[in-house]
Symmetry: C2
Subunit: 285 residues, 2 copies
Amino acid sequence: METPAADRMRLTRASAPLTREVQVRDEYGATRSIMIPAERPLTIFVDKRELVTLMTLGAAPELLTLGYLRNQRLVESADDIDSISVDWDVEAAAVKTRRGIEHFEAKTARRIVTTGCGQGTVFGNLMDEAGTWTLPAATDASARMSQTALYGLLDAVRRQESTYKSAGSVHGCALFRQQEMLTFVEDVGRHNAIDTIAGWMWLHGVGGGDKAFYTTGRLTSEMVMKSAQMGVPIIVSRSGVTQMGYELAQRLGLALFGRATNRHFICYCGFERFDAEPEPPRPSA
Amino acid sequence: METPAADRMRLTRASAPLTREVQVRDEYGATRSIMIPAERPLTIFVDKRELVTLMTLGAAPELLTLGYLRNQRLVESADDIDSISVDWDVEAAAVKTRRGIEHFEAKTARRIVTTGCGQGTVFGNLMDEAGTWTLPAATDASARMSQTALYGLLDAVRRQESTYKSAGSVHGCALFRQQEMLTFVEDVGRHNAIDTIAGWMWLHGVGGGDKAFYTTGRLTSEMVMKSAQMGVPIIVSRSGVTQMGYELAQRLGLALFGRATNRHFICYCGFERFDAEPEPPRPSA
């Protein structure tokens, strides 16, 4: 087994407050104090060239930067990155690569603005590559989800302490192996959250085939693409699906669960990855 | 008064289905039929040069294109645009300008990926321009909102027929003059929705000073900027606020109402634009 990139890559651990207290007024005319989530710009420089400015909560800026580079396919391997240094005083992430990025200009020339909250830009020809990603077969037990495991996953999400609970207005994303939560990330945009998880997976050499993503955000084309790109065959969302997310998931063979909360959910597609253990019929039925 | 650009600009009226029916399974193991919202790419070409691809519901692609050009400050005046032709067969919007766009390359060179759902890219130096926008004074009665008018606005939103009601997973945005809804738009991304409204305002020569925006999305920096840019001093949201949205609204003098539904809301800032008519104290208080 390869040594994870975490042993060789140098990362800062920049931190910044995730919430701010503000004075508001409510419908009763009362002044009260509430928490709101932080939102700050992070400009990514790769080998001193400015790449992009992301608006982020700021919980894990190094992993966000790493996952962004991965999901935009700007870097082939985590080992190509020597260091990521985030300095909130200048709101910048400085990425140093070991060998530079080939065709940097060409790779960053094309813009697609997608439906996603947050990081809506996909560079390059990501859409065209979608067909080349392969996911584990639906017959592989670790790439399936039972109704019991799905409920366990939703319970774990419900119990998770979060900025959302204290301040609202952020999206959460988590990586699961069946009902076991491996990592949980929040950000003002859900694409930042999933990219941060991608960074975590890449850094630690964690594969996607036996994993599931949970997201509070909608199942749009871009979420499905990012999941497929990371080899994760199952996505669970508190929200719903869009047509392109649905069609792409069907084509790529992902299982999509939406409107998932407590013991309710809809399986949109990928039924063949799902071991249903149906609830008793509704009393009124 | 100037003649609105609508009299001179040629626009197609491209239409496409906004929802699609799909077969899903639920927690009872039942197969049922639900509607999901459409999501399709629209590539904007300006004078035959490719600008960007937006992922959209497709309800009003010409107005979306117009508002996008306006909100990205790529075009100075609606009169600079001769025609916008959308053809869903090729998923493209062809914009023909009257005099070309000066410094096109420079204007589209810088990327900022923001928190917004949908259109997360702000070209150019929009952030730097924010300080130059002016909103009507808070003493101007038409640029204020009373608690009664706010309730009227929320009632109008509740009564509005929508793709959201039938298919979920879309954001809605509306333009109001006090409690009167002037136009309502939905899209898979809330920035597309607000841009479409910007396009409508520009096309019809409608000013923003005596208007309020309603959005189902969060009050992020980009939403506040777009509102300020269109001269609209009040934003009402079903969701919450982020720190940059809050700070920018304070600096620019906008009133922000969040968590607004039925007779509940929070006024985050811009209290001076708000005529409170407090609800009776809570029974438990």
